[in-house]
Amino acid sequence: MKDERVISEINKAKSFAYRIIWFGLFGILLYRWFALDQTLLETLDIFLVWFTASMFEFFIMAVKGLPLTYPVNLNKNERVIFLFGFPIIPGIIAILILLITKNIESFKSGLFVFLRTYLIVFAMYLIYIIILYFWEKKNID
């Protein structure tokens, strides 16, 4: 028997539980990094679980054909602006975190952190868009 209401409720409960775990692990990581001054290596076990879950969630969305900007609907030009523009925000956040924790030694190192973060986010979004493009070719066009 496959009761659609029961399946839907089970999925909602699992999804909510996943969110609690995701934010919980993220909170633990932030606390250990910034309050306890632990390094990435010292928190590698938690980080790997959290990072793997995040990457899985991110790419499974592309594989399932979910638009990157959902629920905001963007046209082609807006999507291009989003692709190049949005990675600026994580870049700035990365610099701010390092400024708060006093881990930036010079303007050059700050610029390097910004560019590195920008390029990582940009590359991830680009891969996402490419996967989505091929998903549409296969399933819709």
Partner: protein
């Protein structure tokens, strides 16, 4: 046996000269979802079926019907 919901969404959409994007916007879903419905790869909820029927100005019976998978 798995039931497949067949539909005439693409036929009526083209008759009314509406793009997938416009139809998606009017019923409040993504263009990808309209594409999947037209390809009969996704069974929409009754609420979405009613919205599509309303926008395309057809009855639910004309738009959707059930078929057994071969």
């Amino acid at each position: 046996m798995k039931k497949i919901i067949k539909n005439n969404v693409k036929k009526f959409r083209l008759e009314r000269q509406i793009t997938q994007e416009d139809l998606a916007l009017k019923v409040g879903v993504t263009r990808q979802t309209i594409g999947l419905i037209e390809k009969e790869k996704y069974n929409p909820t009754i609420s979405l079926c009613l919205s599509l029927a309303k926008i395309l100005k057809v009855t639910l019976n004309d738009l959707f019907w059930e078929d057994d998978e071969k």
